[in-house]
């Protein structure tokens, strides 16, 4: 019985207190040494209380080579959760198909394990071995003391002797990774994944997993030994074990709502659109509803909604409190494993938000109505569903039943609209309320839109090239933009990633300047830091360059794209193409379009679902669906529209970039 041992809480506590009291007054210099030795003994005693249940997990015969620094078949750790042979380990052991997964028990014996089930939401995997050996089980407490700053010890097994390995740290945070993980600063190296994180009394606080937070790249082991590591808390694991033992996989729960605001940190929780056939739609949530509480937790911003939903699995039922037409309503909904992918649609209009009559007297409307902007049509694009149905100057009020409360809301509504279905648009035209019926068009497929006349006719003044240097980034970059910033509004922005050894950004832009000026698209050319290759760590830098250029010219934030030279017909795919794809998918709140060669080698990345409020589209210089590359399937499945550009030259590419702002 492993847990029959329980560290005497009071005696240890008194020990720590004595240390705390005597170190600051520091009379005997040896106290420092004594403290270290006492701590070492306490750490070892705590680790020894769990070590009989900590095993090494070896992987034999993986088919592929390493994607990051950590080897695909790196030996890691796991814990015996009972005496029947169930072992909980981290998802790293099933990252790639392997001929065999072996459990090395503390006595050195090896046992073949089979995978029982996976918790995809928490990066855990349940394994099972058959053995007549007597096994020790770990105990997961149902209640955790998660005082930030308390001492934690990561425990694992390492090397071909499966020797104990430990690292001491403190509890750094809770509810990380959208509410699922504890955070510690113990130096968690690859061998620790799947091992327990314990406190000084030997209580299991959680199981260590390989993970990085959003935007930090796609290699979950990228933060090993970095003073930041994550563990799934024991109390949560305890509630999932029966389900996992029954062989049922666990996945993250999805609801299917889109935010009204582009920035999830903005105040307000209004829902702009509800995804078709999603739990939100089934349970009667409607566009325009405001979320007040999620499972009893008050929320004020979309980021908080995401955080509150993050802990729930598919199949779990949650309560949501909403405000609709001034009344509070309660809804329960069962979260789903998948939602049918987005099939983004468009009307074919350029719109803007009318400034509300701001000056002078306060209107006496309800507070909730304050943030409703009026969306007005600036121009209608020829060859689109809007042509002949909608006119410039129309104010768009409702899309079906849903209020159009901002440009982002209208965009989200079209992103999540049902394809080939007629909708009723409520508009105000010349002071009169009217309804217009039309069927939106798919964004995916052949590129048909042409820029409006207003753009080509505008006097855009002189355009000049300027070098751009950002702190914390070694990339050479330059951009070409209008000299006078008031020349034209709603310009596009293209981040052009250069191939390694592709010359200097300033020189490259010389060939693009006239086309940029004609199309009204600011271009920023960025060279890789290393003259031989693009590196994953530069992904964030590209986003920073986009943000920096947007401050220098009147760019529409929805008309921002990233592309590689391969986007132009007849150009080969190189390193920049893979990089552009990786940048677009991981920086999807910045980039609304990406264009690369169809021969691009797909970068190693997890393709996350397209988000209605920050929707990305992909332009390929192809004429037919048949020529689409293999990787585009995964992209389409995740709800990203693939636009066929046909024979794409610089002008066609740049027009597409600026037209990304069209809805």
């Amino acid at each position: 019985m492993l847990r029959s041992f329980k560290f005497s809480g009071t005696s240890l506590l008194s020990l720590i207190i004595i240390v705390c009291v005597c170190v600051p007054c520091a009379a005997p210099a040896h106290a420092d040494t004594e403290y270290r030795q006492a701590m070492a003994k306490a750490v070892r005693a705590a680790a020894k209380s769990v070590l009989p249940a900590v095993v090494a997990v070896e992987i034999v015969g993986t088919a592929q080579g390493p994607a990051g620094e950590v080897e695909q078949d790196a030996p890691t750790s796991g814990v015996m959760i009972d005496t029947d042979g169930y072992v909980l380990a981290s998802s790293i052991v099933v990252r790639r198909p392997a001929a065999s997964i072996l459990i090395v028990l503390p006595d050195g014996s090896r046992h073949a394990a089979k995978v029982v089930s996976r918790d995809y939401h928490r990066d855990l995997v349940l394994l099972k071995i058959e053995t007549s050996k007597e096994l020790s089980a770990i105990e997961f407490p149902s209640k955790l003391d998660v005082q930030i700053g308390k001492t934690t010890v990561a425990v694992g097994r390492f090397g071909n002797t499966a020797s104990p390995i430990i690292s001491r740290g403190v509890l750094s945070g809770v509810e990380r990774l959208d509410g699922v993980a504890l955070q510690t600063d113990a130096r968690v190296s690859a061998a620790f994944y799947g091992g327990p994180l314990i406190d000084l009394y030997g209580n299991v606080m959680g199981i260590l997993i390989p993970a990085v937070a959003g935007g930090a790249g796609s290699d979950p082991t990228g933060w090993y030994d970095s003073g930041i590591a994550f563990a799934i808390p024991s109390d949560v694991i305890l509630t999932k074990l029966e389900r996992l033992k029954s062989g049922t996989d666990i996945k993250r729960g999805l609801i299917g709502i889109a935010s009204k605001t582009k920035d999830p940190y903005d105040d307000g929780t209004e829902i702009a659109a509800v995804r078709k056939r999603s739990p939100a739609e089934v349970s009667g949530i409607k566009a325009g509803d405001e979320v007040i509480e999620i499972d009893g937790k008050a929320v004020r911003r979309h980021q908080e909604i995401k955080q509150a939903l993050g802990r729930f699995d598919a199949g779990e039922t949650i309560r949501i409190k909403l405000r609709r037409d001034g009344k509070e309503i309660d809804i329960t909904t069962e979260l789903a494993e998948t939602i049918p992918p987005l099939q983004p649609q468009r009307l074919g209009v350029l719109v803007s938000e009318l400034d509300s009559e701001s000056d002078g007297e306060q209107d006496d409307k309800e507070q909730a109505d304050d943030d409703i902007a009026t969306v007005v049509v600036d121009s209608v694009l020829s060859g689109t569903p809007a042509e002949s149905k909608i006119k410039a100057g129309d104010q768009l009020l409702k899309f079906g039943d849903a209020k159009i409360s901002s440009v982002t809301a209208l965009r989200s509504l079209l992103m999540s609209a049902e394809p080939e279905t007629e909708v009723e648009l409520s508009i105000t035209r010349a002071g009169n309320d009217e309804t217009v019926r039309l069927t939106p068009a798919m964004v995916a497929g052949p590129s048909v839109m042409q820029p409006p006349k207003a753009w080509s006719g505008a006097e855009s003044g002189d355009w000049a090239t300027e070098e751009l240097k950002l702190p914390d980034s070694g990339n050479a970059a330059a951009f070409v933009a209008p000299k006078a910033t008031d020349a034209q509004q709603n310009l596009g922005l293209l981040l052009l990633l250069m191939n390694p050894s592709g010359g200097s950004p300033t020189e490259v832009l010389e060939n693009w300047r006239e086309a940029a000026k004609a199309a009204g698209v600011v271009i920023c050319a960025v060279a890789p830091e290393d003259s031989r290759r693009w590196q994953p760590k530069e992904i964030n830098a590209i986003g920073n360059f986009a943000a920096a250029v947007m401050k220098k010219a009147p760019i529409n934030p929805n008309a921002v794209a990233v592309a590689a030279p391969g986007a132009i017909s007849g150009t080969d795919a190189e390193a920049a193409d893979s990089m552009a794809l990786a940048v677009a998918v991981s920086q999807s709140s910045t980039f609304f379009g990406v264009s690369v060669s169809p021969k691009t080698r797909s970068p190693a990345m997890r393709v996350k679902e397209n988000d209605p409020s920050s929707s990305l589209q992909i332009l390929l210089p192809l004429s037919s669906e048949k020529e689409l590359p293999e990787w585009s399937r995964a992209i389409k499945k995740a709800g990203y529209p693939v636009v066929l550009g046909g024979d794409t030259d610089t002008t066609a590419l740049l027009n597409w970039v600026r037209l990304l702002q069209a809805i």
């Binding site: 005997p28 040896h30 004594e34 306490a42 750490v43 080579g65 065999s100 090896r110 390995i165 430990i166």
Partner: protein
């Protein structure tokens, strides 16, 4: 019993507040350790590599233990803690331990004793003293870092991209020791005794990640003693060498026909077993997966072939195989 240990620990600790323990105060023994650590400057084998590292005195006659590296391509210059500068001679080295011993013309130098038995276990606190980043120059004392021993284990003998000749016991450190200049530094336990020597930058071949490690003092002791005494090193190179093809085992001669080796890491599955072969006599079967050869992990058919090349064809081969979910030990007799 554990509870008792916890109480004893408290009592011991409480007692030590009043009774001074035998060891010297921290301030003194850390300073003592610094006096035994030296800075070593060499040519640097390649352009752009740091041409400095650390070492420590192991005799009163100026013998210095350090890591065997490119820094020692020329006769290195040694700076003592007091700032004295010496030309040194390399009196011996042992590549399998990544150890070199230098000698300077100095007498009555303070030095570390090398213990026969290990002085630290996993979890123990240690202090590392080294010339990391060459931050201390001249008579500036070497840098001191604190940490713990994370694990005491063997470096895996798997052949990979990142390999070190050293195959013995190592101290894995919970301490950032993996920095330029730290190699050859001294790791001290909390009694001020030498626990080990900081190793060179190294990636663990099994996990692929950078290791912070030290070679334990007890593993260095005999070799350092032999080199100082002018004896030939007694250490056997444990990185077993490849034998000529005609003298070693190979899958075919043992009766193992493996599945086609089409991938970079094709698993070592047996396709067929030749009749009247060592494999047949040991009742191996098609679809058995070979996991270990003489205790070493087989991650692919390539590894299997190279491991067999290290075994004399007259010797038995110990295999561990997986048959369905069973793990079986098998001995092949030639």
């Amino acid at each position: 019993m554990n509870r008792l240990a916890a109480i004893t620990l408290t009592v011991l600790f409480a007692a030590s507040i009043s009774d001074l323990p035998a060891e010297a105060p921290l301030g003194t023994w850390v300073r003592d350790a610094q006096k035994r650590v030296v800075k070593i400057y060499g040519a640097g084998g390649l352009k752009g590599l740091e041409a400095y590292q650390s070492g420590f005195l192991v005799s009163p006659e100026g013998h210095i233990a350090t890591a065997w590296s490119y820094v020692l391509d020329v006769e290195p210059v040694v700076l003592l803690d007091d700032g004295r500068r010496f030309e040194s001679k390399i009196v011996g080295f042992e590549p399998s331990l990544e150890l070199a011993v230098l000698k300077i013309e100095a007498t009555d130098t303070p030095f570390f004793e090398l213990n026969e038995e290990p002085t630290v276990d996993w979890g123990d606190p240690v202090i590392a003293v080294s010339n990391l980043f060459n931050i201390a120059t001249g008579n500036e004392p070497a840098s001191v870092m604190q940490g713990t021993v994370a694990s005491v284990t063997d470096l895996n003998a798997r052949r990979g991209t990142f390999k070190t000749p050293y195959r013995g016991k190592v101290l894995i450190l919970d301490l950032i020791a993996n920095n330029p200049g730290a190699a050859g530094g001294a790791v001290i336990d909390s009694d001020g005794q030498l626990a080990g020597m900081l190793g060179k930058e190294l990636r663990d071949s099994t996990t692929g990640v950078w290791l912070n490690y030290a070679v334990p003092a007890d593993a260095l002791r005999t070799t350092i003693g032999d080199i100082i005494a002018g004896r030939k090193s007694t250490v056997i190179d444990s990185a077993t060498a490849m034998l000529p093809r005609k003298d070693s085992h190979n899958p075919n001669a043992l009766g193992l026909v493996m599945v086609p080796d089409v991938l970079e890491t094709t698993p070592a599955y047996i396709d067929t077993v030749s009749t009247d072969s060592p494999a047949a006599r040991a009742s191996l079967r098609p679809d058995d997966l070979i996991l270990l050869v003489n205790g070493q992990r087989v991650d692919s058919q390539r590894t299997l072939r190279s491991l067999l090349r290290t075994i004399d064809r007259r010797d038995n081969v110990e295999l561990t195989v997986q048959r369905d979910t069973q793990i079986l030990p098998v001995t092949l007799q030639p």
